[in-house]
C-alpha cells in the first residue's frame, strides 16, 4: 500500500468535515480529485487526502444522505462523478464545525501557556 511518510494523518471523522466544508465553499459540484486537490492546496500541502480514505468517506457521506452525486463531463471532457452538498449535509456541517471549534478551543486552552 502506498503510504507516504511525510503525510499528516487526519483524525477519523475530520475528513468528512473537510469534504463537507470544501463542497460548501465551492458553489459548483466537485469530483473526487478536485476535492483532494483543493484540501491539499488550501492546507498548504499539510493535509493530504489519501484516495483510499477519500472515496470510502464520500460513500459514507452519500449513504448518510449528506452529499448527492451526479455524473458530468470534466474539464478535460471525460466523465466524472460530481458531488454536491445536500441540505442535510449543510446542517450536519454546521453541527460538526461547531463541535470541532468547541473541542479545538478546549484543547488550545489546555495547551496554551498560562
Amino acid at each position: 500500500m502506498g503510504s507516504d511518510a511525510k503525510k499528516t494523518e487526519l483524525a477519523p471523522g475530520t475528513l468528512e468535515m473537510l469534504i463537507l466544508k470544501t463542497l460548501e465553499r465551492n458553489a459548483e459540484p466537485m469530483h473526487g480529485y478536485q476535492i483532494a486537490h483543493y484540501i491539499k492546496r488550501i492546507s498548504n500541502d499539510v493535509l493530504r487526502v489519501e484516495e483510499s480514505s477519500l472515496y470510502p468517506a464520500l460513500q459514507r457521506l452519500a449513504l448518510k444522505g449528506w452529499v448527492k452525486s451526479e455524473w458530468g463531463p470534466s474539464e478535460n471532457n471525460r466523465r466524472a462523478r460530481y458531488y454536491k452538498l445536500t441540505p442535510a449535509g449543510r446542517k450536519q456541517l454546521k453541527q460538526e464545525v461547531a463541535d470541532f471549534e468547541r473541542v479545538l478551543e478546549a484543547i488550545l486552552r489546555v495547551v496554551q501557556p498560562a
Binding site: 502506498g2 484516495e51 483510499s52 472515496y55 449513504l63 448518510k64 444522505g65
Partner: protein, 928 residues
C-alpha cells in the same frame, strides 16, 4: 438522522449492485488518470508517472471492498454466502445429508412430539376470551379437612345473583348420554349447561343460538352440538333445526359450538350440550332436581370481575358464604365457597392444581426425548468430525488465503444449522403424524373426543426451532472448533490431508468418547423402553382374582331408550333371569361398574350401630374413622358370574335386587372387614355409608360424584376376598357392594360366566339375541369378554402408549448408536489401511487383523455399557414413580437391554473389521 432513508439507499444499492461497482470503478479510473496527468505536468516520464500514480492510489480492490462493505448488510451477506455454500455442500454429499437429516429428524421430532403434547395439556390457554379470569368455584365443608361438594341449582342461582365477585358464573353437569342413530345407540359424554355457558367463556356459536334462560330451567327438547360433531355428521349447513335422539328422546339442534372449543378443560371436550333442565333419568323426575337444595350435582366456573385477584375474591366469598349459611342453615351450614385457578385436565369438585403433576410427567418424558436428541447430536458430531478431517485441506487453503478462524467456524455452524433446519422440518412432520395417530388410537377407546390439532402452533414451532438451534450448538460447534484449529503449514504439506497421529485410536479420543456416550445413553433409553414395555405386558397378565377368560359382560342402559326407573328395574330383573336360564353358562349377575372401568364410584364407610341418625358427620368412637371404599351396586349371582368365591355369608337375593324396601344389606371385602373390625367377624354387623368424597375417591379423579345419601345402615351379609378392579391400585383396596334395590342406576353391566365347555363368543351372541328378544328397543352398548375389556381398557391403553413411545425412543437410540459405532470403526479401518498392509506384509494373518479391530470395538462397547448401566440406573430410579408393577432395577430388563446393545454393537464392529481383513497388503503399501 434519517435511518429509514438510509435503509432505503442501502436497498437501492442492493438492487443496483453492478451499476455501483461499475461507477466506482470508473470514478477511480478517472482519478488515476488525473493523477497521471498531474505527474506528467510535473515533468515525469509517462511510465514513471503512471506507476507513481498507481502507487499513490494504493490497493484498489481493498478500496472497493471497503466501499461495498459500507453499503451492504455485511453479516447478512456473509450468512447468505454461507447458506449458499452449505447448500452446495449438502447437494454434493447426498448420502451424508440424508443420514444427518434423518438422524436429526428423529431426534428433533421426538422432542417436538412430546412438546406438542405438553403444549396442549399444559401451556395452551383454554378456549375463550381472557381465560385467566375464568376460575373454578368450589364449596368446602369447614368442619372437615379437604371435603368438597358440588353445588345445588338454588345455591348456584344465589351466587349468580351476587355481583361482587363474578361478572358471570356458569354451571355444568356432566353425564353420559345415549345417542341413537339408525338402530344403534352410542354412549358419549354429554354436558348439561346453563344458558350463559358460551357467553361466560366469551365465545360465539359457530351456528345457531345458545340456550335461552327459559330452556335452562324448564324442560325443553333442544340441544347444541360441538363443531366436531357437526363435521362428523357431514358438516351440513342446516344441521341446526334438525332432530337428534338422545336417551330415547327427540331433541332439536339449535346451535353448533365454535371450532376447537373445549370448555373448562384443556384439550378434550364433550360433543353434546343440553340445557340444565334436561333430566337423563326421564321425564318422571324432570325439573324437580333443579329446585332441590340438597341435590349437589353442579360444577361452577366463574368469570372474575376485571382486576380482582383470587385472594380478594375469596375474601368476598367468605362473607357471601356466611350470608348463605344464615339464609339456608339446612343446606349451607359450614359451607365455604372458594375460587381457585381451573385445573388443566381434571373436572373435579375439589380445587386441584394438576399443573405441577403434569409438568413433572412432561419433564420426565421431555428429558427422555432429550436423550434421543442428545444421542442424535453425538452421532452427528462424530460424522462431522470425520467429515471435518476430510475437509482439513479445504480449510487450510482458506486460512492460508486469509480467512479468519471465526469466519470458518461461522461457516461450519451455518452448515450445521442448515442440517438442523431440514431435520426440524422433517421432525415437525414426523411429530404431527405421530401425535395424530396417537390421539386417533386413544379416541377409539374413550367415551369423549380430543380436540387436538396435530399441526404445530407458534409455541410448538418456537420450541422446535429451539431444539434445532440447541442441537446445532451441540453437534456442530465442537467439530467446527476442532476442524478450524489446525496448523496450516503441516496441513498443506501433507499430501493426503489425512494423517495418522497415533497408530492406535486412544480410548479417550474425542471420537471414541462420543461413541461411548452414545452407547451409554442408548442403553438408558433401551432400559426405559424395557421397563415400560414390561409394565404393559404385566398389566394384561395380571391375575385380578377373578375369571378373565370365561367371563364377559353386556352393557345395557334403559334410560337411553327412555325407560323410567320402575320400568328399568323390572326389565333388568327379567333380563337377568332369562339370560341365567340359557344353556352353557354358569351364572349371570348385574353390576353398576365392571372391573377396570373408567368410572369408579367411591363411598366412605363407617361402623354402624351408633345413635341413628348420628349427628352431622361427628364420628363417634364407636363408629371409628370413615374408610374410603370402592362402591358398587350389584345383583344376585354377581360374584358367581365373576368367578369369585365368597369367604363368608351369601350373595344378594332376587328380592334385594328389585325391592327398595327390602332390608338393607351389604357385602364387603375382607380388606374392609379387617379395617372395620380387626380380628373379628364382620358377618351380621352393620356399616354406614358416609357419602362419597372425591378427595378420597378410588380410581380416577373423574366423573364419579356420589352425593352423600342420607346416612343408612346396612347389615353385612357376605365377605368376599379382595380382587382387583382398578389397574393402578393394588388389589387390597376396601370395597363395599350394595344390592341394586338400594340404589338405582340406569346404566348396568350384566356379567356372565360361561361353563368351561362353552364357546364364549357364541355365548355372547346368544345372550345378545336373548336380550333383543326380550326388548328390541333396549340399547345394548358393549358386549365383550373381561380379558378383551382389560386389554382395551384406558389403563392398559395408557401403559401401551407409554411403552410404545419409550420403545420408539429406545429403537431410535439403538439405531443411532449402531450408526455411530459402525461409522467410527469404518473410519478407523479406512484410516489405518496402510498400517494393516504393513502388518499383513509382516505376516499378520486375517484373523489377527479381525481380532485387532474387534477388540477395539468391543472395548468401546464395554466402556459404553458400563457407563450406560450407571446412567440407566439413574433413569430407572427417576421412572420408578410411573412404572407399572415392575421393579425399576428389573434384572431381566437390564440384561436384555445390554445384550441387545452389545449384540448390535458387535455386528457394527464386525462389518468394518471384515473389510479390514480384505485389505490387499501390496495395494495398501503402494498407496501410502
Amino acid at each position: 438522522m434519517d435511518k429509514l432513508s438510509q435503509l432505503w439507499r442501502r436497498l437501492l444499492f442492493h438492487l443496483r449492485r453492478d451499476q455501483f461497482d461499475r461507477e466506482l470503478e470508473e470514478e477511480m479510473r478517472f482519478h488515476l488518470e488525473m493523477k497521471v496527468e498531474e505527474n506528467l505536468a510535473a515533468g515525469i516520464s509517462p511510465e514513471e508517472a503512471r506507476y507513481a500514480a498507481r502507487r499513490q492510489f494504493g490497493n484498489q480492490t481493498l478500496l472497493r471492498e471497503v466501499s461495498r462493505d459500507m453499503w451492504s448488510f455485511r453479516p447478512l451477506e456473509t450468512l447468505g454466502q454461507d447458506l449458499r455454500y452449505g447448500l452446495r455442500m449438502m447437494v454434493k454429499n447426498p448420502g451424508f445429508t440424508v443420514v444427518a437429516v434423518l438422524t436429526l429428524a428423529l431426534g428433533i421430532g421426538a422432542n417436538t412430539a412430546i412438546f406438542s403434547l405438553i403444549n396442549v395439556v399444559l401451556l395452551k390457554p383454554i378456549s375463550g376470551r381472557e381465560p385467566e379470569r375464568l376460575v373454578g368455584v368450589y364449596s368446602r365443608d369447614t368442619t372437615r379437612a379437604d371435603d368438597y361438594r358440588l353445588f345445588s341449582h338454588p345455591n348456584y342461582t344465589d351466587l349468580r345473583a351476587r355481583s361482587e365477585v363474578f361478572d358471570d358464573i356458569l354451571a355444568i353437569n356432566l353425564f353420559s348420554a345415549g345417542v341413537t342413530e339408525g338402530d344403534t345407540t352410542r354412549r358419549i359424554m354429554a354436558v348439561k349447561i346453563t344458558s350463559n355457558y358460551f357467553s361466560v367463556f366469551g365465545v360465539q356459536l359457530a351456528q345457531g343460538r345458545p340456550f335461552t334462560a327459559q330452556e335452562e330451567t324448564q324442560h325443553a327438547p333442544v340441544a347444541i352440538v360441538s363443531h366436531r360433531w357437526w363435521r362428523q355428521h357431514g358438516a351440513s349447513p342446516d344441521l341446526v333445526g334438525q332432530s337428534i335422539r338422545v336417551n330415547g328422546r327427540p331433541l332439536t339442534v339449535v346451535g353448533v359450538a365454535p371450532e376447537g372449543f373445549t370448555g373448562p378443560i384443556t384439550f378434550f371436550s364433550t360433543d353434546l350440550f343440553l340445557p340444565l333442565s334436561f333430566d337423563q333419568l326421564g321425564a318422571e323426575a324432570a325439573g324437580n332436581s333443579l329446585q332441590d337444595r340438597k341435590r349437589h350435582d353442579l360444577r361452577l366456573v366463574g368469570r372474575l370481575k376485571q382486576g380482582l385477584t383470587l385472594e380478594e375474591a375469596n375474601a368476598r366469598l367468605k362473607l357471601i358464604s356466611a350470608q348463605l349459611a344464615e339464609a339456608y342453615p339446612d343446606a349451607n351450614r359450614d359451607q365455604l365457597v372458594t375460587v381457585s385457578q381451573l385445573p388443566r385436565m381434571a373436572i373435579s369438585s375439589a380445587p386441584r392444581n394438576d399443573r405441577a403433576q403434569i409438568a413433572t410427567i412432561g419433564a420426565i418424558t421431555l428429558s427422555l426425548s432429550g436423550l434421543v436428541l442428545l444421542i442424535a447430536c453425538l452421532n452427528l458430531a462424530n460424522m462431522l468430525l470425520a467429515r471435518g478431517a476430510a475437509r482439513r485441506k479445504e480449510f487450510a487453503v482458506r486460512q492460508a488465503l486469509g480467512a479468519r478462524g471465526g469466519r470458518l467456524v461461522r461457516q461450519l455452524l451455518t452448515e450445521g444449522f442448515l442440517l438442523a433446519a431440514l431435520g426440524a422440518v422433517a421432525g415437525v412432520v414426523l411429530a404431527a403424524l405421530a401425535t395424530d395417530w396417537l390421539f386417533a388410537s386413544m379416541a377409539q377407546s374413550l367415551p369423549f373426543s380430543f380436540d387436538f390439532d396435530p399441526w404445530p402452533d407458534v409455541r410448538v414451532l418456537a420450541a422446535t426451532l429451539g431444539f434445532g438451534l440447541l442441537a446445532t450448538l451441540f453437534f456442530a460447534l465442537g467439530p467446527a472448533l476442532k476442524t478450524v484449529r489446525l496448523d496450516v503449514n503441516t496441513e498443506l504439506k501433507e499430501g493426503t490431508g489425512e494423517t495418522v497421529r497415533s497408530p492406535r485410536g486412544k480410548l479417550l479420543a474425542t471420537r471414541n468418547l462420543l461413541v461411548i456416550g452414545q452407547m451409554a445413553l442408548s442403553l438408558c433409553l433401551l432400559v426405559a423402553a424395557g421397563l415400560a414395555g414390561r409394565g404393559a405386558i404385566q398389566a394384561i397378565r395380571i391375575d385380578p382374582g377373578f375369571d378373565l377368560d370365561r367371563s364377559f359382560f353386556l352393557q345395557v342402559d334403559g334410560s337411553l331408550a327412555g325407560y323410567s326407573e320402575t320400568e328399568a328395574r323390572q326389565l333388568y330383573r327379567r333380563v337377568t333371569e332369562r339370560v341365567s336360564s340359557l344353556p352353557g353358562l354358569e351364572a349371570a349377575g348385574m353390576a353398576l361398574s365392571p372391573p377396570f372401568a373408567d368410572l369408579v364410584f367411591g363411598q366412605r364407610v363407617q361402623r354402624g350401630g351408633a345413635p341413628f341418625p348420628p349427628p352431622q358427620d361427628a364420628a363417634t368412637p364407636a363408629q371409628g374413622k370413615a374408610i374410603p371404599a370402592n362402591y358398587n351396586v350389584i345383583g344376585p349371582d354377581y360374584f358367581r358370574a365373576l368367578g369369585v368365591t365368597l369367604r363368608q355369608g351369601r350373595e344378594f337375593r332376587s328380592t334385594e335386587f328389585t325391592d327398595a324396601e327390602a332390608p338393607r344389606v351389604a357385602v364387603i371385602n375382607s380388606v374392609l372387614a379387617e379395617k372395620l373390625w380387626p380380628g373379628e367377624t364382620a358377618l351380621g354387623r352393620t356399616v354406614q355409608l358416609a357419602g362419597g368424597s372425591e378427595a378420597d375417591d378410588p380410581g380416577t379423579g373423574g366423573f364419579a360424584p356420589l352425593e352423600a345419601r342420607p346416612q343408612q345402615a346396612f347389615e353385612v351379609v357376605g365377605v368376599v376376598p379382595p380382587f382387583k378392579v382398578d389397574l393402578f391400585r393394588r388389589g387390597d383396596h376396601p370395597m363395599i357392594f350394595v344390592p341394586f334395590g338400594q340404589h338405582y342406576f340406569a346404566e348396568m353391566y350384566l356379567h356372565v360366566r360361561a361353563l368351561p365347555t362353552a364357546n364364549v363368543d357364541a355365548l355372547i351372541r346368544e345372550v345378545r339375541e336373548e336380550v333383543r328378544r326380550l326388548d328390541p328397543a333396549l340399547p345394548m352398548l358393549a358386549a365383550k369378554s373381561l380379558r378383551f375389556h382389560l386389554e382395551t381398557s384406558s389403563g392398559v391403553l395408557l401403559l401401551r402408549i407409554g411403552a410404545l413411545s419409550f420403545a420408539t425412543f429406545g429403537g431410535v437410540a439403538l439405531l443411532l448408536a449402531l450408526i455411530g459405532v459402525y461409522g467410527v470403526n469404518a473410519y478407523m479401518v479406512a484410516r489405518r489401511t496402510r498400517e494393516i498392509g504393513v502388518r499383513m506384509a509382516l505376516g499378520a494373518g486375517r484373523s489377527a487383523v479381525l481380532r485387532l479391530f474387534l477388540r477395539e470395538g468391543l472395548i468401546l462397547t464395554g466402556a459404553g455399557l458400563a457407563l450406560g448401566m450407571v446412567l440407566a440406573g439413574l433413569v430407572a430410579q427417576l421412572m420408578s414413580g410411573i412404572l407399572f408393577e415392575v421393579s425399576p432395577f428389573d434384572p431381566s430388563v437390564f440384561g436384555l437391554a445390554s445384550a441387545l446393545l452389545a449384540g448390535a454393537a458387535l455386528i457394527a464392529c464386525l462389518l468394518p473389521a471384515r473389510r479390514a481383513t480384505k485389505v490387499d497388503p501390496m495395494e495398501a503399501l503402494r498407496r501410502g
